[in-house]
């Protein structure tokens, strides 16, 4: 049982601020993912929780205990990194058990813990095997087993899957999620891979340049990014950002893309987010996810009108099997549309793109903050 709390935590390396007054409450038994590009401070944050990195300012608590000055070994945590050592002369049992042996645990207790961990990981029948007789996935499980036998309050994982090939990574992702359900323990997981974050996290913390950008569950993060960084970082292919001017005509508001498009903002959206109107007559950034742009020659869920569609030229067609990525251009704007596999669009075609108005996202051109956020 353990919450992890960061209060106003700052880490400076000389003049560089790696983590800037981070406030974060990791809930008990939660799978929390820290994600961001390299240098965003995610690993530093994890290492401060682990006690490998001293904190410059602030407080870190594990459970109710302030651990600022507690050495790593006394923090009741276990760490898993991408590079772990499986010792070739030891069988799986010993590879999992040696840490406990070194800590002088009684033999019976070691056996209980290793057998329990092996069962959770589904490697009970491999305990007598040597590492070289294991597959990549099995090896990874042994490394996890080594952390599990410590029965920590919190697991800290720093990109544990990044050394695996793509197929195994997908498999281990699912296994780690299942494992978390079984262990019922708090996990803090660091990755640079937004797909990993989206598929595994109960909640996700997006970091950039040492600042926490947003903390949310995966869907909220995807649907209601609070700024352009989060909007662009989460999702693949990334959200399209088109520079536009917000034009008021009568009581209606339009996104005017320098002659390339003119799209109406729904009344509902204006009513729900009246701040948008303050940008009228000025620049605004129109954000739209690739799957919310559609090929209007195919059947649509919404009625296609002049107000919610525009034309663009197809520059590249990438068939993905179940869908097609179209790389398009109109005027100065470039974008990607993720359209149905039935689309017959070809390179050089001018096609009409439909925009799902409810999915339009708008950002302040200067602050890059979102106008459309999740209503509480």
């Amino acid at each position: 049982m353990a919450n992890v709390t960061l209060e106003n935590v700052t880490k400076r390396f000389d003049d560089v601020v790696a983590v800037n007054s981070a406030d974060l409450k990791v809930r008990d038994k939660e799978f929390l993912v820290l994600v961001g590009p390299s240098g965003c401070g995610k690993s530093t944050t994890l290492r401060m929780v682990a006690g490998l990195e001293e904190i410059t300012e602030g407080t870190i608590k594990i459970g109710d205990e302030v651990v600022n000055d507690v050495p790593p070994k006394d923090r009741d945590i276990a760490m898993v990194f991408q590079n772990y050592a499986l010792y070739p002369h030891m069988n799986v049992y010993d590879n999992m058990a040696f840490g406990l042996k070194l800590r002088k645990f009684p033999k019976d207790e070691i056996r209980r813990r290793v057998e329990e961990a092996a069962e959770i990981l589904g490697i009970e029948n491999l305990l007598e095997r040597k590492p070289k007789q294991l597959s990549g996935g099995q090896r990874q499980r042994v490394a996890l087993g080594r952390a599990i036998v410590r029965e920590p309050k919190v697991f800290l994982m720093d990109e544990p899957l990044s050394n695996l090939d793509a197929k195994l990574r997908v498999q281990m992702r699912a296994e780690l999620s299942k494992l978390h359900d079984r262990l019922q323990t708090t996990v803090i997981y660091v990755t640079h891979d937004q797909t990993e974050a989206m598929t595994m996290g109960d909640r996700i913390v997006v970091l950039k340049d040492g600042f926490i950008q947003q903390v949310d569950d995966p869907l909220s993060l995807y649907n209601y990014p609070e700024n352009m960084f989060v909007a662009g970082f989460i999702g693949s292919p990334a959200m399209n950002f088109l520079d536009a001017e917000l034009v008021k005509e009568g009581n209606e508001y339009y996104l005017e893309g320098n002659g390339a498009f003119k799209l109406k903002i729904s009344e509902e959206m204006i009513n729900n987010y009246p701040d948008i109107t303050e940008a009228a007559g000025g620049d605004i950034v129109f954000g739209i996810r690739p799957e919310d742009l559609s090929d209007t020659s195919l059947k649509q869920d919404f009625e296609v009108t002049e107000d919610n569609s525009f034309e663009a030229e197809v520059e590249v067609v990438e068939p993905m099997g179940s869908e097609i990525y179209l790389y398009l251009a109109t005027g100065e704007h470039n974008m990607i549309a993720r359209v149905d596999a039935e689309s017959e669009a070809e390179v050089g075609d001018i096609i009409k793109l439909g925009v799902d108005q409810a999915k339009m996202r708008l950002f302040d051109a200067e602050t890059e903050e979102a106008f459309i956020t999740q209503s509480d």
Partner: protein, 330 residues
């Protein structure tokens, strides 16, 4: 008095930086000048100042050897081996005694982090502490471990297979004497190496005989070894084969056997651990399970030097198998 870069510059009538470029084969100096400088350097037997060179390149050409204690009899051999390999490559070795204290180890690792050493070889069996992991995560490729296991990370490591020692000792003793379980005389049972030897030994005895013999533990010196014999000889059917993990204890034990009027190896067979000077002075010479420490230390040092030179290393973890070196006690 040794000639310096400054002297060469004066003699050649050029700037010191020009001399440096010529000597280091860097661009920015004419062929003619370069030749002149090289001739002068050769004539006056110019040797670059290591310290100054180190300052410029942020290198010290010093590696640290961290040892957990200085009592272990196998360490002098290990130290000599590290030093020999390091010296050959132009490196000096500094000995650091951590005395099993993580704080002391952290102090030495601090020096490594601050580039006071180019690299470190770390010997020991304790789980890694924060400072150590922190440093390992920097991926500077400047540490090699000897007989140290890491739970979280992979660092280049050279290890003795201790369990194999116990297995070898048991098999050797059972070859000659395959009915009665041999006796095991352990040192500090809390030490990882001893736990592993014990496990290997007992498991092998059980496989061969269906049972394992008596165990004495905490027997580390001559007097304690001596006493062990008096404890077993009183019994009806004392064990006739004995595996001792500390050679000082083996020395005492064999003295006691002889004092009791028995013969080694005719009446009692004894096998020790490591071919050190004690194994040599025991008469007859002690049969031992030998740990290839010198070879391991040499190869660990070579690996570290390769890493410091940013060369590829072939394997991260290397495990060394012990072997029986037959003396006269079995």
């Amino acid at each position: 008095m040794a000639i310096t870069l400054k002297d060469l510059a004066r003699m050649a009538g050029v700037a010191e930086s020009t001399v440096s470029r010529a000597l280091n084969d860097k661009p920015g100096v004419s062929e003619e000048t370069k030749e002149k400088i090289l001739k002068l350097a050769d004539k006056h037997n110019y040797q670059p100042n290591r310290l100054a060179q180190g300052l410029a390149k942020n290198k010290t050409s010093v590696i640290a050897l961290l040892l957990p204690d200085l009592k272990d009899l196998s360490y002098p051999g290990l130290i000599a081996s590290v030093e020999k390999a390091a010296n050959k490559a132009g490196y000096q070795v500094v000995l650091c005694n951590t005395a099993g204290s993580s704080q002391k180890a952290a102090g030495y690792l601090d020096l490594l982090q601050r580039n006071q050493f180019d690299g470190a070889i770390i010997v020991g069996g304790t789980p890694a502490e924060g400072k150590f992991l922190r440093l390992a995560l920097e991926n500077k490729n400047n540490m090699v471990l000897i007989n140290m296991l890491l739970e979280e990370l992979l660092l280049p490591s050279h290890l003795i297979d201790y369990q194999a020692e116990g297995i070898l000792a048991a098999e050797h003793l059972l070859e000659e004497n395959n009915v009665k379980p041999p006796l095991l005389v352990l040192g500090n049972e809390q030490e990882y190496a001893e736990m592993e030897r014990k496990e290997g030994f007992i498991t092998t005895c059980q496989q061969h005989l269906g049972s394992s013999g008596e165990i004495f533990s905490g027997v580390t010196d001559r007097a304690e070894g001596y006493q062990v014999f008096f404890n077993i000889v009183e019994k009806n059917q004392p064990p006739l084969a004995i595996y001792v993990t500390e050679n000082f204890a083996a020395l005492g034990l064999i003295e006691a056997i002889k004092t009791g009027g028995y013969l080694v190896p005719e009446d009692f067979q004894v096998i020790g651990t490591g071919s050190d000077f004690i194994a040599d002075i025991i008469s007859p010479k002690l049969t031992v399970v030998d740990e290839p420490l010198a070879k391991m230390a040499e190869e660990a040092t070579e690996k570290l030097l390769k890493m410091l030179a940013e060369e590829e290393i072939d394997s991260e973890i290397k495990v060394y198998d012990p072997e029986i070196i037959a003396g006269g006690t079995t």
